[in-house]
């Protein structure tokens, strides 16, 4: 179930393309919306296992799991953003993110694929009501008839809103 993406794939440098450098993204769905995150922030994708709950944590923090000796908190993005059904089946996946020196797991509706987007395919996001606050949105990617919301996952996860880091007093 464990697939290592990040270590193997580097963003393809298709400088020859007119639109400039292409970057690879992992796309996942959250309710009806499709999101794209920088593949280099993804450490691995694994199946959901029941985490150990943390006392007095917000509901969207499901708890912590043991990832090969490291204690990793698991955030259910579906609960956090109130989309999709927060049910846990054998097919529920967790994306393990490596953000700086922190490791965090997120539960999403489903992982779609790995796509590469050139810079000219990503348009600045207008002010709009997405599930995720526009502050954390880098832009909108177009891929055929799909619209991908490109999220700065590191900024989002380490923001105070996710309650994953100690607030700086």
């Amino acid at each position: 179930m464990i697939q290592e993406f990040a270590q193997q794939k580097n963003p393809q440098m298709n400088a020859a393309d007119e639109g400039g450098f292409a970057q690879e993204y992992l796309t996942f769905t959250l309710g009806p919306e499709e999101y794209a995150i920088d593949i280099l922030k993804v450490q691995e994708i694994r199946g959901y296992e029941q985490p150990t709950t943390i006392a007095n944590a917000p509901a969207f923090i499901k708890g912590v799991i043991n990832l090969r000796g490291i204690i990793v908190p698991i955030v259910d993005m579906r609960i956090k953003f109130g989309v999709g059904k927060a049910e846990y089946t054998p097919f529920t996946v967790v994306i393990i993110l490596s953000l700086g020196n922190r490791v965090v797991g997120i539960v999403v509706d489903g992982v779609s694929d790995v796509t590469s987007l050139r810079a000219d395919q990503v348009r600045p996001a207008p002010e709009f009501a997405a599930t995720v606050d526009t502050r954390y949105i880098n832009g909108l990617g177009t891929l055929g008839d799909r619209m991908l919301i490109v999220v700065d996952i590191e900024k989002l996860m380490l923001s105070g809103e996710m309650a994953l880091v100690d607030e700086v007093a």
């Binding site: 985490p51 150990t52 709950t53 943390i54 006392a55 007095n56 944590a57 708890g63 912590v64 799991i65 043991n66 090969r68 000796g69 490291i70 204690i71 990793v72 908190p73 020196n101 922190r102 490791v103 965090v104 309650a163 994953l164 880091v165 100690d166």
Partner: protein, 757 residues
């Protein structure tokens, strides 16, 4: 120097640190009345290595101090100057100054130039003070060159120095200026002859009564080592050159007759066995043991000139200091002479010899490697996972037919054994002998007892007891405090001791050993002992909750209260009442505890018990609902099942439990952590009585599960601090369990109480 030296700085810092530490240790064990020659040599070697390498790396301030230090040490070890107590003090202080300078070079603050200068002055004075005595003594001044005859008059006149400087014109000028200014400290300097070419030697005259070896030491920093010639002033240059051809370079001053003649292949190096040099039957393999540390000789067997290296390995210690001392000077000529056809070998050999010299003074350097702690921790983590995986496999295998799958079973048993061994060895990587900490205490005891005018002997035992590196770092401060405390309050003054019929020299014992999975460190003294009555009186005065029926153990624990001191007067060392509480807090934070046993007039013994590693905790697992929590065992006093009569309500809420006459607040874990499906009836669950910082409380849980040693994992590295939880651990089945922060829970209970009431 064209090579970029900065890449070697870290190695230099570490090595120098080690040399300084070993120097200090040796100085402290030195018997002033009858110093052991071997120890003196070892101290000298340490100083010399520091000087050599700091000179090489361009840390002149370090080199300057060690240079003077080395001179004095050299004369002491040769018996020219008698070792005195104040010299040891000066040496120790010089060591401190050097440490400061070293730290400054490592970017840790500013180097204290003044103290460096002050210590140089002090050492010089010591050298000078002792010098006349040395001259008058029966031991003849060490002749610093081969011919003894001119030795008689050189001191009066001065010396001629010949040497070749390397580098371009600019750097030569600079080095020359340095040399001249440095030499001026020893006598009047005159440049008698300037070098026409790079190969031509410079000629300096130094008037006064300089010591040839001292000057050589200075020159070694700048000049090509093999080019230095020092002859008495006015001696014919031919003599100087003749002297130069003599391989011994006057280094064999102790036995002037050993100076080897020019044609002797051994260059005086193998003087004890001069003929061995031409014994071809000596197997070159005999060089093997010496090879590592004396790589200097490596080229020789290849050149089919089997100079006998065994001569050196036979008496490594004897030749050791000698090797280190003379290497820079003689390394090149012998090789060049033995291999006249291969001058290319020379620089290599020189480099090799330098490496050999540094390797030789840090024995065992090649048997250990420095690895980052994070790598070790990573390894420990992975092995932990392996153990869990192995346990999982074993569990699955238990369900299959052992007859049919016999080989699988055998393989799994083998795997289990190997995993366990692997885990043990990996855990032992983090372990270090406690001698790392103990080694600093002789100095502490010496300094403090001197300050207090007491005579104290420190006895160490169990220095090889191993404990976790993290603990080693954190135990040193509390231990230092305990020792200072024993010195100040424990050991009496010599007069008082004599009056009590005790030997005037007090004894402090420091012992470490393993006991039932703990490390025990004892600090004992044969001093006055703790005055129970005085402590009790003081405690009453301070309004502490005490009574006369308290056990000695309980009374003695009072000295760990903040601000508690029975000292009649505050001394420089201790007595302000701060410190012991910090000691206790630090030790508790490490998961350890302190016990005191004491008898008035006989002595006191403080026993510190620590877990083997910081990363492992003895825990009791308890169940609440579906969750498992770990309580550090150190806090658990007892557990009991509450009977209806024991629960007392405050304002209608059952919040207190009466245990043996004491009313304890009850912390209901399912409420604090909002655990669903937990037992809510006090009669059905278990009360665990906890104590922290002298406060007791009862923790209500569903059931007790078991007792484990758990590996502490940080929750904060990927998450944040959680109130009431101090960390997490991974249980045998791979699941995560939270470790309770007992102090926080207990204080939560105390704060929650008024709200509930």
């Amino acid at each position: 120097m064209s090579i970029d030296m900065s890449q070697f700085y870290q190695v230099f810092f570490e090595e120098t640190g080690e040399h300084l530490a070993s120097m200090e240790n040796l100085l402290l064990t030195l018997d002033i009345g009858a110093p052991d020659a071997e120890q003196l040599n070892a101290i000298f070697r340490a100083a010399h290595s520091i000087k050599g390498s700091s000179g090489t790396f361009g840390f002149t301030d370090l080199a300057d101090v060690t240079h003077i230090l080395e001179n004095l040490l050299d004369r002491i070890r040769k018996g020219e100057i008698r070792l005195r107590e104040d010299m040891i003090d000066a040496f120790l202080d010089a060591g401190d100054v050097l440490k400061g300078l070293l730290a400054a070079h490592q970017g840790d603050g500013e180097g204290d130039k003044e103290s460096a200068e002050a210590i140089c002055q002090r050492l010089r004075r010591l050298t000078e003070d002792a010098a006349p005595a040395a001259k008058a003594s029966a031991v003849p001044p060490v002749p610093t060159f081969a011919e003894p005859a001119p030795a008689a008059n050189f001191a009066a006149n001065g010396l001629d120095l010949f040497f070749v400087l390397e580098g371009d014109a600019d750097s030569i000028e600079k080095s020359l200026d340095n040399v001249v200014s440095e030499l001026t400290g020893y006598g009047e300097v005159r440049i008698a002859g300037r070098a026409a070419t790079a190969e031509h030697p410079w000629h300096l005259e130094v008037l006064g009564a300089p010591d040839a070896e001292t000057l050589r030491g200075i020159l070694e920093f700048v000049a090509r080592n093999d080019s230095i010639r020092i002859v008495p002033l006015g001696a014919p240059v031919e003599a100087a050159l003749g002297d130069a051809a003599d391989g011994s370079y006057g280094f064999f001053g102790d036995e002037p007759t050993t100076a080897a003649p020019l044609e002797d292949d051994s260059f005086g190096f193998f003087e004890p066995l001069p003929n061995l040099a031409v014994q071809p039957e000596v197997s070159p393999t005999s060089a093997a043991p010496a090879d590592e540390s004396y790589g200097f000789f490596e080229p020789l067997p290849n050149a089919d000139v089997p100079v006998e290296p065994a001569a050196i390995s036979d008496s490594p210690d004897g030749s050791y200091g000698f090797l280190v001392k003379t290497l820079p000077a003689v390394a090149a000529p012998p090789v060049a002479a033995v291999l006249p056809d291969k001058p290319v070998e020379k620089p290599a050999a020189e480099k090799e010899s330098k490496r050999a010299a540094s390797a030789a003074v840090t024995p065992g350097a090649d048997t250990s490697i420095r690895v980052g702690v994070d790598k070790v921790d990573q390894l420990i983590n992975l092995v932990g996972e392996l153990v869990i995986t192995q346990a999982m496999l074993a569990q699955s295998a238990a369900q299959i037919d052992p007859v049919e799958f016999e080989r699988l079973h055998n393989g799994l048993i083998q795997l289990e054994r190997n995993t366990r061994d692997l885990q043990e060895s990996v855990m032992s990587i983090r372990m270090m002998p406690i001698s790392v900490v103990f080694s600093r205490f002789p100095r502490v005891v010496r300094d403090v007892s001197q300050k207090l005018g007491k005579q104290v002997e420190l006895k160490l035992s169990g220095e090889n007891t191993e404990l976790d590196k993290g603990l080693i770092e954190r135990i040193s401060d509390p231990l230092t405090h305990l020792i200072r405390n024993s010195l100040d309050h424990g050991i009496e003054s010599p007069e008082l001791r004599a009056a009590k019929g005790k030997p005037p020299v007090g004894t402090i014992t420091l012992a470490a050993y393993h006991q039932s999975g703990n490390i025990v460190i004892e600090v004992g003294d044969d001093g006055a002992g703790l005055p129970r009555n005085k402590i009790l009186a003081k405690a009453k005065e301070k309004g502490l909750n005490v009574h006369d029926q308290m056990t000695d153990q309980e009374v003695f624990q009072l000295i760990f209260e903040a601000g508690f001191s029975t000292a009649d007067q505050i001394t420089e060392v201790s007595g302000r009442g701060v410190g012991m509480d910090v000691v206790k807090r630090n030790i508790t934070a490490m998961g350890g505890r302190v016990e005191i046993s004491s008898m008035l007039g006989v002595g006191t013994r403080m026993t510190v018990r620590l877990p083997l590693t910081l990363a492992i905790l003895d825990g009791m697992s308890v169940a609440v609902g579906k969750e498992i929590y770990i309580i550090p065992l150190g806090y658990v006093i007892e557990s009991l099942q509450a009977e209806p009569g024991m629960m007392k309500s405050v304002s209608g809420v059952e919040r207190l439990i009466q245990v043996r006459g004491e009313y304890l607040p009850v912390v209901t874990l399912y409420e604090v952590f909002r655990v669903p499906e937990a037992i809510t009836d006090f009669a059905d669950g278990i009360m665990i009585i906890l104590e922290t910082d002298g406060i007791k409380a009862a923790l209500f849980v569903d059931a007790m599960v078991g007792q484990h040693q758990v590996v502490i994992k940080s929750l904060e590295s990927n998450y944040r601090k959680v109130a009431g939880v101090s960390g997490a651990t991974i249980m045998g089945d791979g699941r995560v369990a939270m470790i309770l922060d007992v102090s926080a829970l207990v204080s939560m209970a105390r704060h929650a109480l008024p709200a509930a009431a």
